[in-house]
Symmetry: C2
Subunit: 382 residues, 2 copies
């Protein structure tokens, strides 16, 4: 089970649960509300969200066009027609148009759309395609499809929450094995290789990242595993995630210690744990995203570590590891039931650092944590 | 050795060989020749090509700005500064600007660039960023960076050819193992899982695709491995590739048989092998890309199978699996020494099909094949 042989795990969630046929009509209605005459979705999370088609990102155009009113259609390279037909998109009776190597697929889309005044482009559409659509639809103002799809994608359905919970359980099982691989004399890279194998073995179809940041490297929150050798007294930030066959992502950080960490580390680790707890406790419908960021920041600042919490508190997660809603100063968006996001404060004073991250879902009764690995500092013998 | 622990294989090629510091000046000069005042390169193959920085594709802006005249600069999220510094980009003394979570990185780029009349955007830049740059640089016409970088990237340096050859040797070693995994009763998906493991074990850092198309599925050139069970008499198209730690890609197709394939298959397999040979023989500097396509198509058409060769003959390969030059009708571009591309004619009459693909490099004396696995039909006992 790797990249190319992915299939939704049938034990828990079925494809129609995750990608219901009603999405297409929901997307068209959202486009209309956002003042867009059509959405143009190329391969990526927007396309997958609407019709469940996990299409290859190729230089050849694949595009789902969704008029705010009118029939949607899917333009695909002739070679990809069977794959599109085999995907959930093929089951919902959408008009499928194959194009040949010497045809201009942009002209095909433009010809069918008529003269839209505004189109919403998939946020990850390649510039290559953005500029071709600009030329093919010269009268259309280009906006982002997220204006329409962002609010839909941010509020997870029960099936999506279950898909995220399944991803969280898988990455929690990886974290449970980390202490067994952590010992002095091994390198960050060796630990990352063990983790990478386990991310796949525990059910992900793709490894998205495996950050292993030991000792001073922990002061770089996005440090990639390197050749540094683990030593007695090290603390190690392990921030790992992957994508499940369902399409949904995991992301969880724990900080570990080898032997006895410095006393000042233990002091701020407790502050961090309290801050992460406070931010989780602040989550409820109607609370602004930035208030959750502030709730994490307050105890850290009060303890004198504010300058060492150098990033936002969290990011939404779903078919992308980073998506709306962002838990960051300046985002006044109110949280709503179904919003799923990370809560991951960090303190990096150097020559060590720490971060604790869980994925949570906003429910009517507050935050539901999807990751359940202990947040106590796990120390392995030196 | 997986996704996140990639490093250039030091045995054969060094980082400075592959990503020489001179690229930055070459890119600036190419921008000027293409009538662009600056290139704006976000994470992806264009950025990696110019400065060797294999940056994460994130919603947070990372952008290398290369004015046609003036000093280049690299804008990165504060979190990514250490990773950027540790990359080859950090070794060439480029001006590195970290931005904080609450800053507007587009305004930072625009402020430093002044008022360019035309900018070249990385071909894979996300629409999200294209539209933000449109707003931040309202006076700048947006073009594609490939106008400047395409010709540079298409002609591989000796180090790049060696990186592609290393990738080809790795995928050839995988093909050498395929007959051992191929037997009646196994599914396409099981075979693809073995292949996927082997792609990683043989030195790739990422699996890009593992197409296993047996029996009637072979008639779909981009078929993904499915649950079909292999049977006596089946033919199986195996088209596989990955990305090496160097950043360079492999891509090789062979067609196998289980037991004795139908007589009509054997007849057109020979035609296909001749066609692939003829296309390779047609490669030399100055020949048009479309002439190589025609050279592959002629013997297939003459044998009455023209209607079943439904795709172009090939695509360039390098830091992307598909890039310039495309070997397709209508591409009158002359081949030049250092051009690297696939030659992969196929015949798919149904209920079976075949394809043979090698990566070749154009040299002064013709095509140098990088893949050397036998092109004779390999049949395993039923």
């Amino acid at each position: 089970m790797r990249l190319v042989v992915a299939a939704v795990n049938e034990r828990n969630i079925t494809m129609p649960d995750l990608y219901p046929a009603s999405r297409l009509a929901d997307a068209a209605a959202a486009a209309g509300r956002a003042g867009l005459d059509a959405l143009l979705l190329t391969p990526g999370p927007d396309l997958r969200y609407v019709v469940g088609y996990d299409a290859h990102a190729l230089e050849r155009l694949t595009c789902l066009a969704i008029p705010a009113s009118g029939e949607p259609f899917l333009v695909v390279p002739r070679l990809e027609v069977p794959a599109a037909q085999a995907s959930p998109a093929g089951q919902i009776g959408i008009d499928l148009i194959g194009w040949d190597e010497t045809e201009d697929p942009y002209a095909i889309v433009a010809g069918r759309l008529g003269a839209p005044a505004a189109v919403g482009l998939a946020d990850r559409m390649w510039a290559l395609m953005v500029l071709r659509f600009q030329a093919a639809l010269p009268g259309a103002r280009q906006e982002l499809a997220s204006r329409a799809l962002g609010p839909l994608r941010a509020r997870k359905s029960p099936a999506e929450v279950e898909a995220l919970a399944e991803a969280a359980r898988a990455i929690d099982r990886v974290h449970a094995q980390v202490p067994g691989w952590l010992r002095p004399g091994r390198t960050e890279r060796q630990l990352a290789a063990d983790i990478t194998d386990a991310i796949l073995a525990e059910g992900h179809s793709r490894v998205d990242f495996a950050i292993v940041a030991s000792g001073p490297n922990a002061a770089s929150p996005h440090h990639t595993a390197a050749d540094r050798v683990l030593r007695d007294g090290d603390t190690v930030v392990v921030d790992i995630g992957g994508t499940m066959p369902s399409g949904y992502c995991s992301d969880c950080t724990r900080t570990y210690a080898v032997g006895t960490p410095p006393a000042e580390f233990l002091a701020y680790y407790q502050v961090l744990k309290d801050a992460q707890e406070a931010a989780c406790a602040a989550v409820r419908p109607g609370v602004r995203a930035e208030s959750v960021d502030a709730a994490a920041r307050e105890p850290i600042t009060a303890a004198g570590f504010g300058a060492y919490f150098v990033h936002r508190t969290g990011h939404g997660i779903g078919l992308e590891t980073h998506e709306d809603p962002y838990i960051v100063a300046g985002n006044a968006e109110p949280l709503m039931p179904g919003h799923a996001f990370s809560i991951e404060p960090g303190i990096y004073p150097g020559p060590h650092g720490a971060r604790i991250e869980d994925i949570v879902v906003c429910t009517d009764s507050g935050a539901q944590r999807l990751n359940t690995a202990t947040r106590e500092l796990v120390s392995v013998p030196a």
